[in-house]
Symmetry: C2
Amino acid sequence: MEPRLSLITLGVPDVARARAFYVDGLGWQPLFEVPGEVVFLQVGHGLALSLFGAAALARDVDPDGTAVPAAAPAGVTLAHNVGSEAEVDTALADAVRAGGRLVKEARRAEWGGYHGYFADPAGTLWEVAFNPSWSVAADGAVTI
Amino acid sequence: MEPRLSLITLGVPDVARARAFYVDGLGWQPLFEVPGEVVFLQVGHGLALSLFGAAALARDVDPDGTAVPAAAPAGVTLAHNVGSEAEVDTALADAVRAGGRLVKEARRAEWGGYHGYFADPAGTLWEVAFNPSWSVAADGAVTI
């Protein structure tokens, strides 16, 4: 698993309120959004910040409500994007071999990609994802 | 305040254990570290991930133990690095004007820089920092 962080997701109580702060208040431009559901902002070279409903994020991580211990850090997940489904499987296996815990086995996602989640030893949640509608450059930079 | 995320800090219960996962397990190379206290890893162009003790992080954010509401997301802070002390003041003022809450007024930091913290409307903590020993390129990329 390459040393790469592609996306930080903030699970927020109110997406419209978060948008009002980052977009209307700070003037950061949305890259892509679904009104009231999710907003993606570019915050660096190949790096995106996502504003996503906290309940939707919790469902995305743990659809059955069984995998995430109560002690897991709330509200923020990190993502490592790769260029294929096979690379998702490889990166998740790398993380487990390194001492991470598989939280969500890799599977097809509603948004057309393929992803899974692992937790590091402190419980930080990392999504490993292949999104066919995003491009991943040779240096790992993601373009939405 | 420019749309830029420079550093993600994970406040972990055990820095050595976090290091064992990211460095020994995943093979990610430290950029800089103080053994047992903090480890910085490069995770993108101008982007660093820091493994820092949870108690030390809490003290850094809120030295008096009064500013952070209990509902604040635990364990993760985001940082926006700038090139001067004056830019720290400007960015914090921008964030407050946009509807953020000042959590730690800008001040000299033990590590030789100048920084403060604000919370976005959902409580996500952002540090705004000038670190004279880090360089900030024109595109915002930070080099440790």
